[in-house]
Subunit: 245 residues, 2 copies
DNA sequence: TCGCATGGTTAATGGTATTAACGAAGTGAT
DNA sequence: ATCACTTCGTTAATACCATTAACCATGCGA
């Protein structure tokens, strides 16, 4: 008979899992600032100080939620891309971008922690590694790599780019582990600033008085971006509805 | 001798002003969530419950800060635009956009409350009117109006725009009180999603590992946008340094 | 079986928001 | 000038919250 992890280790793992899940639930329900150590303790049937054996106080708890969210977000987005035809890069770009939007709209409090103001706060008090930037950048980076390899991607030449910017782009390219020219990195960042802008607008209900449903804006943006990348958008994608979860 | 406002009224106004300023200071120093009623009370030399005579609890205090910030932000940006040559629309667009960036980078906590996650939270618990959207939209809208009147602005025709989107754009146009065609509204929103995206990235230190100084990205974006609008960028602007305050 | 690391407890400290009950003092009318 | 009323402050109490300290039971390895 395998001994496996000890009773203690199993108990510990189970309680930690439970606490993380409850913390996530509270975050979703009441925002990052509505997350309280005490409430989590209450929910998992333990006294507040007990959680200090599991997390480094409240900031540790928030960090744990952040980690879980990172995993969930990255796998959601990459799953959405993998669901498409491997040859249809346009469809994959659409699906990935759309998944980012859908997840964020469906989980605004979590979005805040993952990619909004919550992240900035978190990053100052806990040493959080750039896993999201790497993973998400890598995911989109792979798509851009294939676009570039396929040819026909119209990107600026190295010497057309301001040297200061070029250095930064090179750093970023290294971060996401890609090999394409800086001009392609620039193209990627150009896309991302638009996606991220619309994302923040949507999630924060900016201009909500006019743009309650932000899908029309999103569709228009995707058209712009795919055109910029010289990718044909197959008609089938235009009917794509939001993918929940 | 004029009686003017009574002693009571003067005292009240003075204390409220003091409290608002202190609240603003605390927000800047410790973020929106670091703003506490008690701390403000302590700073203005009064007991915490006293502030309930002035503000509707904490959410009222936050709302007051929001109002003050709105004024400051709008006047900062419009002042920056007015400082430029009235005939040089490109310079005005640059200056206004740059002022938005500079103010936001210099006041990250305030930015969060004004245009980030803090706003979303605030808007749910307090009835906040859309003054910022109107004012800022109006400011940029005026520039776009003049661009359009001058001619040469390449915008999509009405019937090239998806009907659902067109309706939203019309609503937005009414909100900002402009008269130009929907295609121009769309152009404006296209610019704004880029500005706002870069803004959020910069303020939240997204991708900070590569883009610590975000001005190169900003300069590249402005080039893109001015090209999109068919505006020549005068060489003088390229040397423009950040304007503090 | 013993000793210790682990993981829980309660108690205490100090911070927060908010409401209630109360009192001093400014204000305006008689 | 005095009176009543409103305004604006107070203190006290309640109920959260995070965090640390002191303590105790128990699982686990030697």
């Amino acid at each position: 008979m395998q001994t496996g992890p000890s009773r203690r280790a199993r108990m510990r793992a189970a309680l930690e899992r439970e606490a993380r899940d409850e913390a996530r639930r509270l975050t979703a329900a009441h925002g990052v600032e509505g997350l309280s150590l005490s409430a989590v303790a209450r929910a998992v049937g333990v006294s507040p100080p007990a959680l200090y054996r599991y997390f480094d106080g409240k900031k540790g708890l928030v960090l744990a939620v952040y980690e879980d969210l990172t995993d969930e977000f990255v796998s959601t987005v990459s799953a959405a891309a993998r669901r498409e035809d491997p040859e249809d890069l346009g469809a994959q770009l659409y699906a990935a971008t759309r998944a980012v939007l859908d997840w964020s709209l469906g989980h605004p409090a979590e979005f805040d922690l993952l990619m909004g103001a919550g992240y900035a706060r978190l990053a100052t008090e806990s040493a959080v590694d750039q896993v999201l930037a790497r993973e998400l950048g890598g995911l989109f980076g792979d798509l851009f790599t294939r676009l570039w390899q396929r040819g026909g991607l119209d990107h600026p030449a190295d010497d057309e780019i301001d040297p200061a910017l070029r250095d930064q782009l090179l750093t970023y390219r290294r971060l996401i582990g890609q090999e394409f020219p800086v001009g392609v990195v620039l193209l990627m960042v150009t896309c991302w600033r638009q996606i991220y802008g619309l994302l923040c607008m949507s999630v924060h209900h900016h201009l909500a008085a006019a743009f309650g449903d932000c899908v029309p804006l999103f569709e228009h943006m995707i058209d712009d971006l795919l055109a910029l990348l010289g990718v044909e958008r197959s008609p089938a994608q235009r009917t794509g509805a939001a993918v929940e979860r």
